[in-house]
C-alpha cells in the first residue's frame, strides 16, 4: 500500500504503448535536424532573405539564430522537466489555459502536416531536377508518382518502429549535410569576391524584414520534443537536441549566406538558383549535381522526420480524446501509432501529388506550402515561449533567466507574426489560412460544447507512474 502523494500514481503511463526510453541522443537530434532540413535551406533560403535584407542578409540570419536559440531555451524549460509525445502543445498546456493549448495543438498539427506535404514536394521536384541534369526531363505525372512513392516508403519506415525510422533519418541527413559542406567548401575556396557593386545598405528595417524568411530555415527544429517518451534520457537529450539544432542550423545557414552574399555582392536577392549560378561561374558546374542530390536527400529525411513528429502529435491528441480515440492506438509489435500513420500519410501525400500531377509549377507549390507551415510554427513558438515562465511559476521553480528570455522572445516573435501576415496578404495563402482557422474554431466550439472535460484536461504526457518510483513501501 502507498500513502500520501504516491497513492495517486497511475498504474501505467497515459502514453503507454510507445517504445518507451529506447532512443539514443544521436537519433533524437537527427529528428530535429532533419525536420529543419538545413541542407535544403542552405541552398534556397539566403536568396529569399536577400530580397529584403540585401547585403545585410548575414545579419538577418544571425538575428534569426539568436531568436531560435531563445525559443529553444523556452522549450528547454519544459523538456528538462517533462517528457511528452505531443510536441509544443503538450508543453504549452502546462503553462497556459486549455484554449491556448488547443490553439497550439491546431497550429502545430497544421504545421507538421503541411511540412510533410512540402517535404514530399521538395523531394519530388529536386529529384526531377537531378534527373534533368542527366538529360531526362520527366513529365508532371512522374513528380506526383515520386511523391506518392516516397510517402509509402516513409509510412512503412515510420510504422516499423521509431528506432528504424530514426536511424534512417540520421543516415540520410548525414549524407545531405556532408554534400552541402563539400559544396560550400568548394565555393568558398574557389570564389573570388565579386567587384564591389552599387548595392545600397538595406538598413535596420531591411535586416528585421529578413528575419521572417530566415526563420523559415529553422522551422521543425523543435521536432525532438515529440520523442520525449521514446528517448532513453529525455530530460537531457531532448533539450540538447532542440538547442543544438537551433545552433547547428543557424551556423550552416550563416555559412551559406556568407558564401552566397560574397559570390553575388548585392545581387543575391531574387536569384532563382543561386548556388548553381555560383558553381557555374567558378567553373565547377559538377557541383550542381551534388547540390540537387543533397537537397533531395535533405527533403527525404525531412519527410521521414516530420512524419514521425506528426503521427506522435496525433497520437497524443487521440490520448487526449480531442480527436477520435483510435488515433491514440499503437501497434502491438512495432509500438508506433499505426492508425495515425494510416490516416495522416494519405492526406499528406494526396495534396502534393494532386498539385504536381495537375502541372502546377513545383517551386510555387513548395513556396506556398512552406509559407502555410511557417504560420503554424510561428503560433506554436509564440505560445510556448509565453507559457514557459508561467509553467515555472506554477511549479514554484521560476528564476529571472526564463522571464528575461520570454520578455525578449515574445515581442520579437509577435513582430515576426505581424510581418508574416503583411507579407502573405496576396496569393492563395490567406485563403487557405482562413479556411484552416475556421475549421479549428469550429472544432474548438464543438469541443467546448460537447466535451468541456476533455478540453480542460488537454496535455497528456509521460507522467511518473507507480513503476518509476522507488519500490520501498511506506510503513
Amino acid at each position: 500500500m502507498r500513502y500520501g502523494p504516491l497513492a495517486a500514481l497511475r498504474h501505467r503511463s497515459p502514453v503507454h504503448g510507445l517504445d518507451r526510453r529506447n532512443l539514443g541522443p544521436a537519433e533524437v537530434i537527427a529528428q530535429s535536424v532533419s525536420c529543419a532540413a538545413p541542407a535544403a535551406g542552405m541552398a534556397t533560403v539566403p536568396a529569399i532573405v536577400a530580397t529584403s535584407a540585401g547585403s545585410a542578409t548575414v545579419w538577418s540570419f544571425v538575428l534569426a539564430t539568436v531568436l531560435a536559440v531563445l525559443v529553444a531555451a523556452c522549450i528547454g524549460s519544459f523538456t528538462r522537466r517533462m517528457a511528452a509525445a505531443g510536441s509544443l502543445y503538450s508543453l504549452t498546456s502546462k503553462g497556459l489555459p486549455p484554449g491556448a493549448a488547443f490553439a497550439s495543438c491546431a497550429a502545430i498539427v497544421a504545421g507538421y502536416l503541411v511540412l510533410v506535404m512540402a517535404a514530399l514536394t521538395g523531394a519530388s521536384i529536386y529529384f526531377d531536377a537531378l534527373m534533368a541534369r542527366f538529360g531526362w526531363a520527366a513529365p508532371p505525372a512522374v513528380g506526383a508518382a515520386a511523391a506518392l512513392a516516397l510517402a509509402a516508403v516513409a509510412g512503412a519506415l515510420v510504422l516499423r518502429g521509431v528506432r528504424l525510422s530514426a536511424r534512417t533519418v540520421l543516415a540520410v541527413e548525414a549524407v545531405s549535410i556532408a554534400l552541402m559542406l563539400v559544396i560550400f567548401a568548394v565555393l568558398l575556396a574557389t570564389a573570388t569576391p565579386a567587384p564591389p557593386g552599387g548595392a545600397a545598405e538595406p538598413g535596420l528595417a531591411g535586416v528585421a524584414a529578413g528575419v521572417l524568411p530566415a526563420l523559415g530555415a529553422f522551422i521543425g527544429f523543435e521536432a525532438a520534443t515529440t520523442l520525449g517518451v521514446e528517448a532513453r534520457r529525455p530530460f537531457s537529450s531532448v533539450p540538447r537536441a532542440v538547442l543544438g539544432t537551433a545552433a547547428v542550423v543557424g551556423l550552416l545557414s550563416i555559412v551559406a549566406a556568407v558564401t552566397q552574399v560574397r559570390g553575388f555582392d548585392g545581387g543575391l536577392g531574387g536569384q532563382p538558383e543561386p548556388v548553381v549560378t555560383l558553381a557555374a561561374a567558378h567553373g565547377t558546374s559538377w557541383l550542381a549535381v551534388l547540390l540537387d542530390a543533397g537537397i533531395t536527400t535533405s527533403f527525404v529525411a525531412c519527410t521521414l522526420a516530420t512524419t514521425n513528429a506528426l503521427v506522435r502529435v496525433l497520437f497524443s491528441m487521440g490520448r487526449d480524446k480531442i480527436v477520435p480515440r483510435a488515433l491514440g492506438r499503437t501497434h502491438a509489435r512495432y509500438r508506433t501509432p499505426h492508425i495515425a500513420i494510416a490516416v495522416a500519410l494519405p492526406v499528406a501525400a494526396a495534396v502534393p501529388a494532386a498539385l504536381l500531377g495537375a502541372g502546377t509549377p513545383g517551386q510555387d507549390v513548395l513556396r506556398i506550402l512552406l509559407t502555410i507551415a511557417t504560420a503554424g510554427f510561428l503560433v506554436g513558438y509564440l505560445l510556448v515561449c509565453l507559457a514557459a515562465p508561467l509553467f515555472l511559476r506554477r511549479i514554484g521553480e521560476l528564476t529571472p533567466g526564463p522571464v528575461i528570455i520570454t520578455a525578449v522572445t515574445v515581442p520579437a516573435l509577435a513582430a515576426t507574426c505581424i510581418a508574416f501576415l503583411l507579407s502573405a496578404l496576396d496569393g492563395p495563402v490567406p485563403v487557405v489560412l482562413a479556411g484552416l482557422l475556421a475549421a479549428v474554431l469550429g472544432w474548438y466550439v464543438w469541443l467546448r460544447l460537447r466535451h468541456p472535460d476533455r478540453l480542460a484536461a488537454i496535455g497528456v504526457y509521460d507522467e511518473t507512474s507507480a513503476a518509476d518510483v522507488h519500490p520501498a513501501r511506506v510503513p
Partner: protein, 247 residues
Amino acid sequence: MTDPLPLSGRQPRAVRSALAVLEEVVAAGPGITAKEISAALRLPQATTYRLLNLLVDEEYLVRLPDLRGFALGRRAARLALPLTPVPSTAARAVVAHLRGMVRWGVHLASFATGHVELVDTDPDHPPAEPALIARYPHASALGKLLLAEQPQWRAVVRDLRRFTEHTVDAAELDRQLAGIAEVELARQCGELRADRGCLAVPVRSPDGTTLVAGLALAGPPNRVAEPNEELVALLREHATRLAPLLA
C-alpha cells in the same frame, strides 16, 4: 538556461550538494517541492533546480504528476544493498515439508526487494545458477512470476540475454507473461541451462493482492513440460500455507 554543468571529479561541492538534495527528499518524503528543498538546504534556487533536473534525468529522483513534487526514483534503490528477509522457522518448516514429499529440488524466493532473492534453497538439489536467476528474470520460472506482476516488464528487464536455444524472446515473453498472470503458474524448460527446468507458483499476501514470494520445483526439463497436475496442486497447497507466514 544552459545545460546542467558537467560534473567532474573536481567539483566536490556539486557532488555534496546533490547528495544533500537526495537525502532531503528521503527525509521529507515524497511530494517535497524544489523551493522547499532549496530553503531547507540553504542552496541557491537556480543551483537546486539544476541539481534536481540532473537527478531526475539520472532517474534517482522522479517528478510526481503535478510536476512540482519529487520522490525517490526506481534507480535510487540501487544505492543501498537490498535487505533480504530471512524466512521464519515456521515458513522454513513448510518448505522442508514439501521437500520430504517430492523428489524435486524445492526453492523459496522472496520478491520483497523487487528482485528474485533465493531465501531458502534446497540443500540436496542446489539451484543451478543462483546469481543468474536474480539478474535475468526472463530465464527462470521464479523471475517470470515477478515479471508477470509488473505493469511494464520492459522497465525491469534490461537485457533479454539468450542462454540456451529455448530462452524466450520479447514476443514469446509477452505471450507467456499473459498466461502466467491468468493461471498463476510459471514454467521454464531448459531456458537458463539446457538440462534444468522449473515450475513456480506465487505466494501472495492473504488478501491476495501483493506478490511476496515464489515457491519453485526444479527438475529435468522434459518432466517440467508435462502437465504435473498433482505436483502443481501440492505446490499450490504449500504456497497457500506459506502466505500468512511470509506476508
